[in-house]
Each structure stands twice: as structure tokens, then as C-alpha cells.
Amino acid sequence: MSQADLTIHGQPPGLVTGIPPFSVAAKKMAIWLFIIADAATFAGCLVAYGFLRNGTPNWPTPFESIVNVAAMTFILLTSSLTMLFGVRAAKAGDKSRAFLWTMITALGGIIFAALHIREWMGLIHGGMTMFHNPWGTPLFGASFFSITGLHLLHVTGGVIALLAVGVRYKGGRYNADDLEVTGLYWHFVDLVWMFVVPFVYLLNLSR
């Protein structure tokens, strides 16, 4: 393959011609790069958690019920579906329906966050903090609150983004592509939860 084959109208793609790499628009490429970096962040947290769990004898298993985490999982998965409907409606030009689905998605995120905080409060009332754990090693409290806290921070940020982008989309300042980019972030938050649930919750069920 010659150098000429790699150019478009004599110019390398992406620099002068305006054709972005992989034909992915700049905004979408930016969120994908963020998602890749964020995936590494979460993976780092989960690997560190696994490292501690594997190397700590008598790791506590404090979770007695899966009802709360099951409800949270269901709500987050469902919110991903509603986000898809929102983006689909936006691509079809149905602005009011896209806005409605986006707000339903944000509501799902708010319910998820509320359930999460309720669960946290229960654990805190039970004596677990970042530096103390009545069931054993304090590392459990530190790793649990760090990982779930980081995820909750992402959910909170996602809800704010959904509300802001949704309102501006309805007002005409943002378009369907902006809604799609926000949706990609929201699906990523859902994707991370698929790993947090088994490793942080289900492997620590008391049986």
C-alpha cells in the first residue's frame, strides 16, 4: 500500500478534509474516549478490590438480602431501555417523545440513587464506615463505599446531564446527536453496574 492510498485528496484523513477517524463524529469520539478511560478507572477499582478480597482472610459477607440490589439492577437496566427509546425518537425527529423518554430515564436514575443511599444509610447505621466494619476487616467498608460511591457519582452526574441535555434538546439548543452522546454515557454507567453487582454484592452474600 502506497502513501497515496492512505490519503484523501492528497491529505491525511481527519486533518484537513474534515472526515473524522472511523467516520465517528467528534462529540461521539470524545465520549467513547472518556468511556474507555473511565472503564479503566472502574476496572482498576474492581481489580484492587479483588486483590484485597483475595488476600484478606475472613472477608465479611454482610449482605443478607438481594431485594434492594435486584431492584436497583432492574431500574438501571430499564432506564437504559428508555434511553434507547429517547434517542430513537430523537433520531426520528419526534422531539416531545424524545424529551419524555429522556426524563423517564432521568427519573430511573433518581430512583436508583435513592435506593442506593437508603442502602448506604442502613449499612452506616449498622456501624460500617469507610474506616470501620463491625463484621471484620475495615478494608471491606473502604472498598465498598469507594466503588459504589464512584458509581453513584457517575449516576448522579448522568442524571444531571440527562436533565440538562433533555431540556436544552427540547428548547432547540441541542440536537439528537447530543442526546445520543448522553445516552452512550448512561449505557456505560449501566454496563459498570453489571460488574459491580456480582463482585461487590453477590459474592458477599451471607449464607
Binding site: F22, A43, A70, V87, M194, L202
Partner: protein
């Protein structure tokens, strides 16, 4: 002065032709897989086997979400490869520390006092 590049004039990225029915089917698959993880949590297998099964299911869930919810399947194959290979490499590179973790747990072969350490 030349016009600035305009990404709107370029080739469209993915054209999403997925129907709502397809989304619901994928959503159903994700719900089933998530439920399977909860079932495994109550099964009578050792922690290692449980972890391996849950990890496999989580990867399957992530794959479905990436390909269809995040529309990676509809993007150009080069972009799909870029995301999967780059991310996969970073995630795999993080796994280098497990031998140390096992050594903390089992205490072999160098964690015993003065074991394998040349005294000065």
C-alpha cells in the same frame, strides 16, 4: 479563507436501523443474564467457580450492551476493533498483580520472615 472542516458534511457515522422490538429483546436477554447471576449467588459452588461464572455472565452482558445498546455493532468495524482491542489490552494489563495477591493469602514462597532473603 478556506472553510473550516464540518463534520456534519462528512460520511454519516452509524445509521441505526434497530427496531424497538430488537431493543426489547436485548433488554430481555440482559434481564435474564442478570437474574442468572442472582441464581448463581445462591448455588452451592465454591467461591472460585462462582466468581468465574459471574464474570463470564457479566462479560456477556457487557458485550450485549456495548454492541447493541451503545451501537458499536453498527459502527465501522475499525472503530469496533479500536475500542475492543484498546480497552481489552488495558484491562488485561491490570491483571499482573494477582500473583502478589495470592502470595498475601497463602504466604508462599517469600512472605515468611527471612525466607528467601539474603541477610546483609
Amino acid at each position: 479563507m478556506a472553510d473550516a472542516p464540518d463534520v456534519q458534511k462528512t460520511d454519516p457515522a452509524a445509521r441505526y436501523t434497530d427496531t424497538a422490538g430488537k431493543y426489547i429483546v436485548i433488554y430481555g436477554c440482559l434481564l435474564v443474564l442478570a437474574t442468572l447471576q442472582f441464581v448463581i449467588a445462591y448455588s452451592h459452588v465454591d467461591r472460585t467457580a462462582m466468581f468465574a461464572r459471574m464474570l463470564l455472565i457479566a462479560i456477556a452482558e457487557a458485550g450485549l450492551a456495548l454492541l447493541f445498546f451503545m451501537h458499536l455493532w453498527a459502527e465501522k468495524r475499525g472503530f469496533l476493533l479500536f475500542v475492543v482491542v484498546f480497552t481489552g489490552f488495558v484491562l488485561l494489563a491490570m491483571q499482573y498483580g494477582w500473583t502478589d495477591s495470592n502470595r498475601m493469602d497463602t504466604g508462599v514462597p517469600y512472605s515468611q520472615p527471612n525466607s528467601g532473603v539474603v541477610s546483609q
